[in-house]
Symmetry: C2
Subunit: 338 residues, 2 copies
């Protein structure tokens, strides 16, 4: 195992490199952090750290820079989460409280997160799966065409068209609407399939086909996680990526345009708490030189969606993690209130 001092050296290297963006040498290290030892000693430690794969040098006779593995150790063992200051927290809260609807909450969250972390922010819309149904509405647009509108407790609205196998009268529609709502209003999505299972049996044979179709459309809507939307912002911060940035930035921009990739990215983080994926830990290779810090957020105690930031592996992890955590917390509060 690495000695305490070597860990300190690693921490110092990460901190300096994040600050200066330049490979850090032994002399500079001893000057900026009082480690109590000489540069030569630090050099030995560095050699050990390099053997272990925590740091690397771009070329001989340059300083060292942390590897993905080095950042990983830093995040896991050496750095805490830097909490936001009280004024910052108040500012976050004020800013988010100004939101008028769900879209606005998400938009403001993205903006805020991008500004706080000076990185690219990604916020997933509150997911359907954990939410509860507020109301289901059925509209007859044509004799054999019904529009299904689902309203969730988070204020999200989803609509779907249903082409009925047979004409469906207004009376039957009203009946179905009433029965449906009495069963599912206020219930969790997960419980809905069970609750509506036997519903077609209550209708005349001629209407059952349509009822089943409406129900299956509803269930589809409920489980259709693919359709989850998200919002990103702060892409201008990519320009702070580094000097070799033209070549780095392109795959990142491309990845960010693929909602699928981003959803996967957030989805992969299984930990209900905060997750940090560093460099090559990201499955998508366009993001191999970026780190992703993500966390779940939700209106109750439970997470209904995720949010996070994407930035260069050389990022201020404690600060970023602090900001992400704080924003998630306050968004959760806002959602719970509304």
């Amino acid at each position: 195992m690495l000695s305490e001092r070597r860990l300190q050296v690693l921490r110092a290297i990460v901190q300096d490199y994040v600050g200066t963006e330049e490979p850090v040498g032994s002399k500079a290290l001893t000057e900026r952090h009082n480690l109590g030892v000489s540069p030569a000693t630090v050099r030995n430690d560095m050699a050990a750290l390099e053997d272990e794969g925590f740091i690397a040098q771009p070329h001989t006779s340059a300083g060292r820079i942390p590897t993905d593995k080095g950042y990983r150790l830093f995040v896991d063992k050496l750095a805490g989460v830097k909490p936001m200051t009280a004024p910052e927290r108040r500012a976050i809260q004020n800013f988010l409280e100004g939101a008028v609807d769900l879209d606005d909450v998400v938009a403001r969250t993205v903006r805020l997160l991008a500004q706080l972390t000076r990185q690219v922010a990604v916020v997933q819309y509150p997911s359907l799966t954990r939410s509860t149904v507020r109301h289901v509405e059925l509209l007859s647009l044509a004799p054999a065409r019904v529009m299904l509108v689902l309203i969730t407790d988070t204020g999200r609205v989803e609509q779907r068209m249903v082409d009925c196998p047979a004409p469906f009268g207004e009376a039957s529609l009203a009946d179905l609407r009433a029965r449906l709502n009495s069963r599912v209003a206020g219930r969790r999505f997960a419980d809905v399939p069970r609750l509506v299972e036997d519903l077609p049996e209550a209708f005349e044979a001629e209407d059952r086909g349509t009822v089943s179709m409406v129900l299956s459309t509803l269930l589809e809507t409920l489980v259709e996680e693919n359709e989850e939307r998200l919002m990103i912002g702060g892409t201008a911060n990519l320009t702070r990526f580094g000097h070799d940035f033209p070549v780095m930035i392109r795959p990142v921009l491309e990845a960010l345009e693929e909602q699928v990739v981003l959803l996967k990215l957030l989805g992969e983080a299984k930990d209900p708490g905060m997750t940090v994926r560093i460099g090559h830990e990201n499955a998508h290779e366009g993001l191999n030189s970026t780190s992703v810090v993500s966390v779940g957020y939700g209106s109750g105690g439970e997470a209904v969606a995720k949010l996070g930031v994407v930035g260069p592996t050389r990022m201020d992890y404690p600060g970023t993690m602090g900001a992400v955590r704080a924003v998630a917390r306050y968004v959760g509060q806002i959602l719970a209130e509304s």
Copy 2:
């Protein structure tokens, strides 16, 4: 006025510069385009063009590059719109026809436009103002809380909460829903205010307040152009901007994040046909080194929204204009069909 040959020289300069991204000199010009005159003559013409402000040289003894004014002349007088080839048109049509709903149409359009032009694509959602109402639905969520859902002929759905001044019975709600739809279904948004004007009078005094409030919420929704959404894509194409690109790209990314800026950008183009705004012609200074090609599109003959692309002033105008026009046309068709 400039002689015919000088215009030819300008055209040749624009074409070469767009192709090579490098300042173009007199000798190269005569070699690549058979102008029928010697480099020396071209030099004289170039000097004249420079006096008039159509071209400029980055530094002495470099070739010339077109100025914004030069591009303007090129677009107005020297270049046509390059039509898409038949296979390209078929591909566009096929791609757009796969769309399943309005969101998907817009998403596909953005993708397509970005790919065709290899630039940043911006597509505004079909605007409410020109559309017609398909259906208005009212849901009672609580005794004094009504949800208003507006469905347009373009498939767009808008919902609003209405807090009623007094409890509003289901019967009254159904009555209002029926009266409202019989009056406005299938009508243009612009006509709606006139059509519902006297509606409160048909109700009991105790309900009038609520009815008025529902109606005014509806009218608000109709006119609320601010809320117009848009979608952008192809930002990865910004990396093709040029060599000095790190400094150019940042303000562009920033501008693209501001929906307001983009809406203004599209809105400014008053011409119902295609509009090209070159470099400093764009009001927003972050976009001073970009050109914007935009055009209206719509389901009927009339434009309901705009779409366009943003790219470096050094862009292939004829090709870009052709692609933008073709995409707008086919999106219009798709919207008309659905």
